[in-house]
Amino acid sequence: MTRTVFSVALGALICVLPLFCNAYWTDVCVMIGLYALLSLSLNVILGQAGIFHMGHAAFFAVGAYTTAICNTLWQWPIFLTMPLAGATAALFALVVARPIIHLRGDYLLIVTIGIVEIVRIALLNDVFGLTGGSNGIFGIARPRFFDFRIVKSIHFYYLVWGMVGISLVLFYGLWRSRFGRALNCIKADDVAAEGCGINVSRYKLAAFVLGAFWAGMVGTLYAAKMTTIAPESFNFMESVIIFAVVILSGGSQLGVLISAFLFIGLPELLREFSDARMLVFGLAMMLMMIWRPQGLLPPGPRRYPVVDRILGKLHSSGQNASGGLAGLAGAEVETPVNAQTAARTGEDRP
């Protein structure tokens, strides 16, 4: 309940925020939005499926360069390159992840770090003569929405946060489906998940490809916002930041938004303390690990509205629903009232 109230308040705040911000702070908020998007997409891979993937910037880069190349070479409109950027990143993810998806934990982590470095170095070396080497690509056009040119910070603000809104809805739907449950099962125990009939490697791969698709589309937004992209924007540190945002968040979408703000917004707010801010930051991270290792806001329980109806039917059918065979077993049986309240305390999440 408190989460719902908080989410609505946050949503309203995000809608009106740029009205009270100057261009600089609006830009900061755009960056927070971009990181929020990247983190939401990584959350599917890392938060939901528990795949330790620290190379998300690689997919982000593939998307951004796809847009930059299509736009500067062939003058494709930015929005048209967006699905292509996503698809290219997804295809790239499919190719690189297929052979490594069975690796576990730290092993996979190291390989994904390798991927992001390989991508950065390939871009630096002007791969296929398309990426412009260390200078990157400049002169990327502004996106156009019919006759409306998206130029100002405030335009980008609503574009990026609009995309955040759409992503929240879609990823929330995913979380509340058999797909999301399968990912959670894999995270908890992949042998048991496979033994229950979940195609573990297929779902892991699907999570990977979906996350990459999203990161690729965010790459489009980034390229359009910056108009100039260079390999250094997609280095290993970017991956680490996105990774840390997801870990800090605890895995819920609201948590991701809050922790994206903490990671990107807070350093800007603390700019006056320039030298000390990273110190404060490191200390905060350490304290978090000690006192709240599960992250800021772990996902709440999923709601199943049908369940109460079914339970009601079972109780009204005369026999004690738990009386059956466990009753014979003398197993400790919760009274129906308790079970119902337990159901109701289950909170929704954004």
Binding site: A182, A188, A192, G195, C196, N199, V307, A326, G330, E334
Partner: protein
């Protein structure tokens, strides 16, 4: 034709022959017990059937089709569901979602319909929840569907594993020591549950150390020692078999 037929199955770990030329059959509609002393290779047999291991030699036929070397989720899709010897529930997830995990392979909603919650996906989801609640009611855990699975008592966790396996619509249910860690009352209830499962038309193959339970419900026993079949047949016959008494029961025959 038998529902499940193993012929000359051999599984080797390094230099150790875990199962040696094992052949037996499980008839549709029966309850079959796989017994033997610790380390006889019983769980290895289960792991070969369910696809966790691939035997080096031999054939495993389920309803006439070979399932040797298939990945576990494919075996479940074909109709063999299992429980684990050491309980492997998703402890932090609610009881209901554990059962829904078992239902997963009978659901069809794809990535897009999951993201968009299309009407078809919602219908499927509701049907799956209803079906899983039925399974929970079957084992007597319906009222506890919102609790974390890890918080259930040991006996109830075993029952939840059974419900999770049943949710996959199996034709063959494989239970690895279902009564392990249960008290007498719980075991008595389990016997009723296993009989009720068979009455639903599901064939049951189980490993169990509780000889009373095995003698009560199994129509056929398969006895393993050191990975080799030493006896097969009706419980009464097996019980009288000198090789079995020698190898397995030894001094402690008063349990029988």
């Amino acid at each position: 034709m038998s529902l499940l037929a193993l012929s000359d199955v051999t599984k080797v770990f390094g230099g150790l022959i875990a199962i040696n030329d094992l052949s037996f059959t499980v008839e549709a509609g029966s309850i079959v017990g796989l017994i033997g002393p610790n380390g006889a290779g019983k769980t290895t047999v289960f792991n070969c059937i369910t696809g966790n291991y691939t035997p080096e030699r031999g054939q495993i036929l389920f309803d006439g089709t070979s399932i040797r070397g298939l990945r576990p989720h494919r075996v479940v899709e074909l109709g063999i569901a299992r429980t684990f010897q050491s309980i492997r529930l998703f402890g932090k997830l609610p009881v209901l979602e554990n059962v829904l995990a078992g239902r997963h392979c009978r659901m069809r909603a794809g990535l897009l319909s999951c993201m968009l919650h299309t009407p078809a996906m919602r219908r499927e989801e509701e049907a799956a929840v209803a079906r899983c609640m039925e399974e929970l009611d079957f084992v007597g855990l319906a009222d506890r569907c919102h609790e974390a699975a890890g918080g259930l008592s040991y006996g109830n966790q075993r029952l939840l594993e059974v419900a999770r396996a049943l949710a996959a619509d199996p034709r063959l249910l494989i239970l690895d020591e279902p009564a392990g860690g249960m008290n007498d009352q719980e075991t008595a209830a389990l016997v009723e549950i296993i009989r009720a499962i068979r009455a639903r038309g599901v064939t049951v193959l189980l490993i169990e150390h509780d000889m009373r339970l095995v003698m009560q419900i199994c129509e056929k026993l398969v006895v393993l020692e050191h990975g080799t079949l030493i006896a097969e047949g009706e419980p009464e016959t097996v019980r009288a078999n000198p090789a079995v008494i020698e190898a397995y029961l030894g001094a402690d025959d008063e349990k029988w």
